[in-house]
Amino acid sequence: MSKRILCRCEDVTIEEFGKAYRDGFAEMEALKRFTGVGTGFCQGKGCLCESALELARLRGVDPAQIPLTNIRPPIEPLTFEELASLDLPPLMGELEAALPRTDPEVGP
């Protein structure tokens, strides 16, 4: 059965995206959470631009009005083993320095 796939990782078709919009999910952040676009393995590399353009078309607005959704690291797939390989002491030092010294939960 032929389909136009907007997001490959989560298998979202362009029709499903349009239906979610008509059901009232009118912002990219909401559409991302509801349909799953941008939340899969590729983290939006294959679909976020395409989805934002489709939303601009559905709304009939200039694409410049569709802001980018938040893209958090990592942007490449990592295993937990790799994450655990990070030598954190230098980074932890900075994080500790950034904490308020008087916070009773953290201590001096």
């Binding site: 389909k3 136009r4 796939i5 298998d11 078709t13 631009c49 353009l53 490449e76 790799e82 030598d87």
Partner: protein, 462 residues
């Protein structure tokens, strides 16, 4: 394929392949293009980006699930299997979902029947075997694998340049102070350099009449040589950016593990991704973008002799793909989109090398057979006619999509501009050059800033 020296096991069957090839390319050479099936509709998928982000080539390799076959080199005795191979009732259920799946909400498989616990457990037992991605690594393989090496601190640099293409090399050469040049390719000179070299060596000298590509080749070689000789530049080949942290830190990965680098100035020149457009069934295995072709036909050297390949689109990448395919022995069908404006020399090259030339076309649908591409159907702008072109591979040479993720994480102000390919710096002129809110000197340059290869070539000629 000369001197096959390595044997891998694909679902128990031994396959001979060339050392140095990726698993995805080795399977391709044995006619296996369907490497996985999509999670909801069970659609056939294969190596599509050859760059490690499209998910089409996730396979179970040496007992570990979700490994990217396009990024994994073959070795003697490597075991590879599709993750849904042997799934309890995978295929029939997937074809049923393909017809009815639009009635099910996205993510129904983890959103439904979460309570009570007994029902949830039963539902999971039924639903898990459908997708076939849920098996954990083989315990023996997992225990035998050495732990990854500890991460390294690469220290602080005056400038870190992300991207080893034309724009990244130019930025590294112009930078002052100690400069680190991060490139995900093993060789220098950008991802098109190898393709240009291979095309130039093809029968009948395919680049002879393609003057812009010859200039590009000369430019990439020249910059690569200058970078290699520049005492202030350190190259980090085969290195990818895993994340960017404000104000000034990059998390990197290479064969030796993770590392951290900081910089007073960062140049984001990470290039663009292939953009395949949204025609029917454009996710069929066999449909590639130019950047994927450069990797599969260049680095991986897949066997293309006698294969029919449609190269659709416009611009220098389309002509480079055609020349590369010709050099590799493929039968080239050059399908120009309505905006393409090739010069007389290029058209003469196409005629001289016997490429089939079709004009004024837009792709409408991919037609498949046995799960991979068999033909591309076009709209030729005339009412009612839908010409088709039989092909095993279609290369879609559209507008590249600027890579924005790292620039966004560092704090760049980006705006969606379809004329520049996607999310690009808001600044006029298509280039960001300034301070981020967190105080970093950030430059976004080249294709990552929305420039095209054609823009670059004009700049060089001017």
């Amino acid at each position: 394929m000369a001197d096959p020296a390595v044997t891998i096991l694909f679902e128990g069957q031994p396959l001979a392949c060339r050392p140095g090839q990726s698993v995805a390319a080795a399977l391709w050479d044995h006619g296996v293009k369907v490497l996985s099936h999509s999670p909801k509709y069970g659609r056939p998928r294969g190596a599509s980006c050859a760059r490690g982000h499209c998910m089409g080539c996730l396979m179970r390799i040496d007992g570990v699930p979700n490994v990217r076959a396009c990024h994994t080199p073959v070795h003697e005795g490597l075991r590879v299997a599709r993750q849904d191979a042997g799934a309890a009732y995978g295929r029939p259920m997937q074809s049923a979902l393909s017809g009815t799946g639009h009635l099910l909400p996205v993510g129904f498989y983890y959103k439904w029947f979460t309570k009570p616990a007994a029902l949830s457990k039963l539902f999971m037992r039924i639903i898990r075997p459908v997708t076939g991605i849920g098996r954990l690594p083989d315990e023996a393989a997992w225990r035998a694998a050495p732990p990854p090496p500890r991460s390294r601190d690469l220290g602080r640099w005056d400038t870190v340049v992300v991207g080893g293409g034309a724009a990244g090399m130019a930025a590294a050469l112009a930078a002052e102070g100690r400069t680190l040049l991060i490139d995900d390719a093993a060789h220098g000179g950008g991802q098109r350099r190898e393709a240009l070299d291979l095309a130039a060596a093809g029968d009948g000298d395919p680049l002879a009449g393609l003057h812009r590509l010859r200039r590009l080749r000369a430019l990439l070689h020249e910059r690569d040589a200058l970078v290699a000789a520049a005492p202030h530049v350190t190259r980090a080949p085969s290195t990818t950016v895993v994340g960017c942290y404000q104000p000034d830190m990059l998390l990197l990965r290479d064969a030796a593990g993770l590392s951290v680098a900081r910089a007073d100035r960062i140049v984001w020149a990470a290039g663009a991704l292939d953009q395949l457009g949204l025609f029917d069934d454009h996710d069929l295995p066999g449909i590639l973008g130019p950047r994927a072709l450069y990797r599969l036909a260049g680095r991986d050297g897949i066997d293309l002799r006698g294969r029919a390949v449609v190269v659709w689109g416009h611009g220098p990448d389309q002509w480079l793909c055609a020349a590369l395919l010709h050099a590799r022995g493929a039968r080239v069908v050059l399908a120009l989109d309505p905006t393409a404006a090739p010069d007389e020399n290029a058209l003469a090259t196409a005629r001289r090398l016997g490429w089939q030339l079709r004009t004024g076309l837009r792709p409408l649908a991919a037609l498949g057979r046995a799960g991979s591409l068999a033909a591309l159907r076009f709209d030729d702008g005339r009412n009612g006619t839908r010409p088709e072109s039989a092909c095993e591979i279609a290369v879609i040479c559209g507008r590249g999509k600027p890579v924005y993720d790292g620039a966004y994480q560092l704090g760049a102000d980006l705006v969606l501009d379809p004329l520049r390919g996607g999310y690009v710096p808001r600044a006029a002129g298509g280039r960001w050059d300034g301070r981020t809110p967190a105080g970093l000197n950030l430059t976004i340059a080249g294709e990552a800033a929305g420039a095209t290869l054609a823009d670059l070539l004009e700049e060089v000629t001017a």
